[in-house]
Amino acid sequence: MGTKVYFSTWRGEFIDNRGKKPEEWAESGYDLPATYSTSQDSKAFIGWDGVSLFSEEVDVVRLATEYAAQYQEYSEACGRCAPGRWGGRILYDLLDKIARGEGEFSDVEHLKEVSETMMETSKCEIGKTVPIPILNLMEHFEEEFGNLIREKRKSKHYDSEVSYIAKVTAPCTDACPTGVDIPAYIEGVRDLRFDDSLQATRGSMPLAHTCGRVCPHPCEDACRRSNLDEPISIMELKRIGSDFETDHGLAFLHPTEQKPKIGKKVVVIGSGPAGLTGAYYMALEGIDVTVYEALPVLGGEVAVGVPEYRMPIGKYEKDIEAVKDLGVTFHVNSPVDDEMMREFEKEYDAILIASGTRISKKIRCENERPEIQGYWGAIDFLDKVNLYEKYGIKLTEEEKREHDIKEDFVDLTGKTLACVGGGFTSMDVVRCAIRANAEKVIMLYRRDEKTIIRNTTYEEYHEAVEEGVEFKFYSAIGEMVDEDDILKSLKINTFELQPNPDGGRPKLVQVEDGDYEIEADYVIPAVSQSADLGFIPKEWEIELTSWKTILTNGRDYQTSRKGVFAAGDAEYGPMTIVNAVGQARRAASVISRFVQSGEISLTDEEIMEDHLKKLGVYNKKEPIRGWLGNQKREVSEKLGVDERKTNNREVNLGFTQEEAISEAERCMRCYYISMVAT
């Protein structure tokens, strides 16, 4: 942290090192993009919250002019209100007039006048904030502006080549791992143009049905609306566009027209969210994509992990069909091995590994032996449940024997199931167990209720409790007790939080004499998962992280082996769907250039995206102006507990039209534009 700056007004900081030697310059407390890329320094950064100069050389008048010009240029978000549309153009025309030496002092007054009306009345934040750094510069560099006007001369770099790189963002977009243009898809709902809404989503998120249902929505934690009342229900508004497309049987609305074939081939390992996303965006770029999937069905964990009642398979299949619509070839029941990988490397121009993390980690308790009947990994348990519930694939005789199941599907009638976890996977296990008619379902969690809610969602926890899951907090398994390799009971240790005398996080300490025992027929470890990377040829010597996932630099997703890329859980470790989508989208972009040029590169848009993420777009302390508060967040109707707990019907009924419009109207369209001068 800390950036050396010459001058800065960024986010309320005022640093003025004019007249000081560079070594005496005071530093900014913000992580500002003083270095644009490894090969390029930047001279200035200007955006919605102020301006920072990294060099004395900057032509501030030209900088202000270019910022206004970029606002015009990048005004996809604009054109929709009178002050923004004309005001922005007038800002630019007047600034350019001054910069080329034809300005007058009345122009400065008009600039201020237009700025004020833009700031007070524009439709989106972009129109409201564009004047801010311009006014900053006019105030603090008044002399520079005044001199040009008095002397009727051009600004110092008016005719020289300076490169300016701009990017439009929003706090929610910035917080989204795949950078979905959230204000645009919400605007599509508000304007009752659901096709536009969907197209905006698919611009960076092909799984619109899925992430309109089961995304943990980190965007909502960065929603500026929470500074005023409550965050927008961003995730749920997403499904409206995709439901419209599906319900009306429309042809798939892709964000851009698919490019003609470029004669390059890429193979993708795994058809989960990361694999599908990578395939989708590469196919849009005209690449021939082939996907290998080990399971008999497509879709990875969303298909075989996430239960039907949260993510109806019919809807997920529509997301998958959108990928197929671009001509991607899929092979199911096709696990790959090292021999195949060696062949792939010869045959294809690049490989994207998106094989996920499908090994359930151990609980780490006494007598934890895989051969005990009743000990059943969460991933495998959910596979079996979902393959039957969604696809009608029955248990084999061997599987029935192994898990002591009488029916062709996971039927837990009369059985007690305990699950160890605390994340989304464990929630899926216990709620599926309820639907499998278990007599008793217990969730064991080492920490407290608050933490489990933070790690999942309030709705998820609340719905599980309603359905009859018994939560035991501060509890962990000490020992599995069996009789002839058949699980009988679990010895439970309990814990308590002890305040840390040195301050900091309280410690979890085992309670003496707190042990107890519960009877259980099944114990499901859902602690975490690890990646099974045995299919990668040893001699490739792919570097791994300390978590035994594939190592990349987290920006271009190339592995230590050229031409081999990795994205999703296989790279990051078990994480969210949207994280996998975001990584794969970036990887697809990098690969689409790599297959043409052999080089690894990022676009300016991507470089800026990374800079802004580091800098942080959302400012939770910022007061909101121009919006009426106390407007309640809409909550969609859910199936009642008795209506849902014995079946797989989708629990969330989604917004009614009235609710959707009302919720979309709360969105403040917090678009921002920022620009770097290099």
Binding site: C81, P83, E116, K123, R193, A660
Partner: protein
């Protein structure tokens, strides 16, 4: 109990203040809506009541105490206790600045602009006292766009987006959109190079400036010279409220002429036939008056259609009573019989649904009509039901209508001719605990309506709170109409569903209520705008009478409302009343003197009112659905294109009339696009150009009838699917 009280005590009411005045908002109402209700003025340039708030002009910003920046009133819902100020120096300054921005580079061509005198930009510029322009921006090249009947002038456009919202939310064409691009933003056709729409012209209607105009109207008149004649559109049973805008033809010719049709776009949405098809007045004065009187006196039958006012229908009834002539109007008779049969089980004489019911519904089932062209007003109501309420709309018809794809959730294609079976299945589906004894398997097989499709309707019906069933002309002219109507009567009786039976012609309902009708004409016959031995008509014939825009009178529209129309263009000859006076030996001065006889009020004092339904004791009698017919061979559906309804619209608007066939139809008939073909339907010979319509599904072709002169009316009184042998013309 406390919570309960809170709820009753205005859980849905918000109390707040505007300019110090205590006001109340209903849940969901915006500050602007409350202000308007209270008569408090807030300026707007982009606000439309009939769409969701657009929020592009920003003029409606207001101040709220405790908030340091202005709040947009069109979109903000008030909260309890807030204090709103609609005017202040600060607000005035911003609004004035916005108006100044609107005027940047707006061409100073008010002298020739069609909108001048009725222009929101002019009005608001004056209102804010803009006398000089302090902002400048570089001018850009903005060529005019030719969009068929519509001209778009980008340089005049203020990008308020009213046109875009209306087209999407009220009409449903979704044919235009805003092309984003800051200063160079413009309105563009959506997804195509040029405008591809149904040409309702509603975009022209809502345009606050002269950016979207009717090409025909361009440069013909100034807004302030035109006189508005209130009227009801005579082209279909929606009977939309319109104004004929008239002035003299030229300085030499002082004859009054219609220059355009306008509508109050907040009140209704008018289709292209209504807006552009106004020039159908009769300028001929053919025939001998006493001959016409004699023919009428001696006629054994008087043949007429329902494109007629109630008063004229009444006059014909009086003549018939006096002379014993039979009144023949098969279309209206079908409708009358349909209503009669419907009433048996409905327990009342009339259907109970309206356009508003359709628009407010969250479930609608449409059956037996190509509604987008049969009755555009119903289609607009469907659009609104979907857009506002995301209504689940099921559309049951043998012909797929791609225009409705975005609106309709479920297309159910049934076999031609099996309507009775389809209705039976449908009614069985939507009646909870139906006691109908149906052979579901047989009906489902013959009609091709799947049980799952019906189950989906039933499932939605369980949750839907406002439901409407829309019934169209295919069922009314059906050989099994009586039993079909009886089935439908059961639906209205449940009170859970509204039923809207769309009258096939403009005034079918009025005629059905007024006249005693019979089926077959006998000679000597007189036709009133119909073919007969002697033809009295506003479209040629033996004796000329005025057209409907040359007459005063009333219609009964599909909402069962009695609506009025007035004289827009003069007619030099004699009218039906004058003929009838001779036959009846009476001396009724004006046609509208019959209004009082019909409705008890003099025409001038008549306000729009609903026909009353007669309550009877409901029965539950339906006949068993017997063997359903099968139609094999080449099938043709009688259906007009957009903008066309009848020989009157044809007179006013020229459009092509091809036989539109699906690709399968072309293959089956060995036809190619552009072939000349001949065929005969119901004794009428057609010669048409064949065109392939790739949006049609199944072996079907659509054949227009609007260009068939007076025969169009007799054709439209039949079941609309007909077999025909298509011959290629060598």
């Amino acid at each position: 109990m406390y919570e309960m009280l809170l709820y009753l005590d205005g859980g849905n009411m918000i109390n707040f203040k505007i300019n110090g005045k205590d006001v109340v908002a209903q849940k969901g109402e915006t500050i602007l809506q409350v202000a308007r209700k209270e008569g408090i003025y807030i300026p707007t340039m982009c606000y439309l009541e009939k769409t969701t708030p657009i929020g592009s002009c920003r003029l409606c910003v207001v101040e709220v105490e405790g908030y340091d920046a202005p709040i947009l009133s069109c979109q903000s819902k008030p909260t309890d206790g807030i204090e709103v100020q609609t005017d202040s120096d600060e607000l005035f300054k911003h609004r004035k600045n916005i108006m100044e921005l609107y005027n940047v580079n707006h061409p100073l061509e008010c002298g020739v602009c069609d909108k001048s005198g009725a222009c929101d930009l002019q009005n608001k510029t004056l209102e804010f006292g803009l006398s000089c322009q302090s902002f400048t921006a570089k001018e850009q090249n903005r060529p005019k766009k030719d969009w068929g009947r519509i001209q778009y002038d980008e340089s005049l456009c203020i990008l308020c987006e009213k046109c875009v919202s209306t087209c999407n939310e009220a009409v449903g064409d979704d044919a235009i959109e805003l092309h984003f691009g800051g200063y160079s933003s413009s309105i563009v056709p959506k997804g195509s190079e040029t405008l591809d729409c149904t040409y309702c012209g509603e975009c022209i209607s809502v345009c606050p400036v002269g950016a979207l105009i009717s090409k025909d109207f361009k440069y013909t008149a100034n807004a302030w010279e035109l006189q508005k004649i209130p009227a009801s559109c005579s082209h279909c049973s929606a009977g939309c409220e319109i104004s004929y805008e008239v002035k003299h033809t030229s300085t030499e010719d002082q004859t009054q002429k219609i220059y355009r049709v306008t509508n109050d776009y907040e009140e209704n949405t008018v289709c292209g036939a209504g807006r552009f098809g106004f020039d159908f007045g009769n300028s001929e004065t053919k025939g001998d008056f006493s001959e016409a009187v004699e023919k009428l006196r001696n006629a054994k039958s008087i043949v007429f259609n329902s494109n007629i006012t109630n008063e004229e229908a009444k006059i014909l009834s009086e003549v018939s009573k006096k002379t014993g002539a039979k009144l023949v109007n098969r279309e209206a008779l079908n409708f009358q019989n349909f209503l009669k049969a419907f009433a048996v089980n409905a327990g009342e004489s009339l259907y109970n649904g309206t356009l508003e019911d359709v628009a407010d519904s969250n479930q609608v089932v449409v059956i037996g009509t190509k509604i987008s062209t049969d009755n555009p007003a119903v289609r607009y109501a469907l659009t609104q039901a979907f857009k506002r309420n995301r209504a689940f709309i099921s559309y049951l018809h043998p012909v797929y209508d791609s225009l409705l794809q975005n609106t309709i959730r479920q297309f159910i294609n049934y076999e031609v001719g099996t309507e009775e079976g389809v209705v039976a299945l449908l009614v069985d589906t939507i009646l909870e605990n139906s006691e109908l004894d149906l052979d579901i398997g047989y009906l489902s097989g013959e009609t091709n309506v799947g049980e799952e499709e019906l189950e989906q309707i039933a499932k939605i019906s369980k949750r839907a709170t406002k439901k409407t069933l829309v019934v169209g002309a295919d069922l009314i002219a059906h050989p099994k109409a009586e039993n079909i109507a009886k089935f439908l009567g059961l639906v209205q009786r449940t009170a859970l569903w509204k039923v809207l039976i769309v009258p096939p012609e403009t005034n079918s309902l009025g005629v059905a209520e007024i006249c005693e009708l019979s089926d077959e004409a006998v000679s000597p016959s007189v036709g009133y705008n119909m073919k007969a031995d002697f033809v009295i008509s506003a479209l040629g014939g033996d004796f000329s009478v005025p057209a409907l825009n040359q007459q005063e009178g009333t219609f009964v529209n599909l909402n069962r409302e009695v609506v009025k129309t007035h004289v827009a263009v003069p007619f030099e000859g004699r009218n039906l009343n004058e003929l009838a006076n001779k036959v009846l030996g009476s001396d009724v001065e004006n046609t509208i003197d019959y209004t009082k006889e019909l409705f008890g009020t003099h025409f001038d004092d008549l306000e729009i009112f609903h026909l009353e339904t007669e309550i009877t004791s409901p029965k539950a009698e339906v006949s068993e659905v017997e063997d359903l017919p099968t139609f094999d061979g080449t099938l043709i559906y009688l259906s007009n294109p957009h903008l066309q309804f009848s020989p009157f619209t044809e007179k006013a608007i020229s459009s092509e009339a091809p036989l539109l066939g699906s690709e399968q139809f072309a293959v089956a008939g060995k036809l190619s696009d552009g072939d000349e073909v001949e065929f005969e339907i119901l004794g009428e010979k057609f010669r048409r150009k064949f065109q392939i319509d790739r949006n049609l599904r199944g072996v079907i072709a659509l054949n227009p009838i609007f260009d068939m002169g007076l025969s169009a009316y007799s054709l439209s009184s039949n079941y609309r699917f007909q077999k025909a042998k298509i011959e290629k013309v060598k």
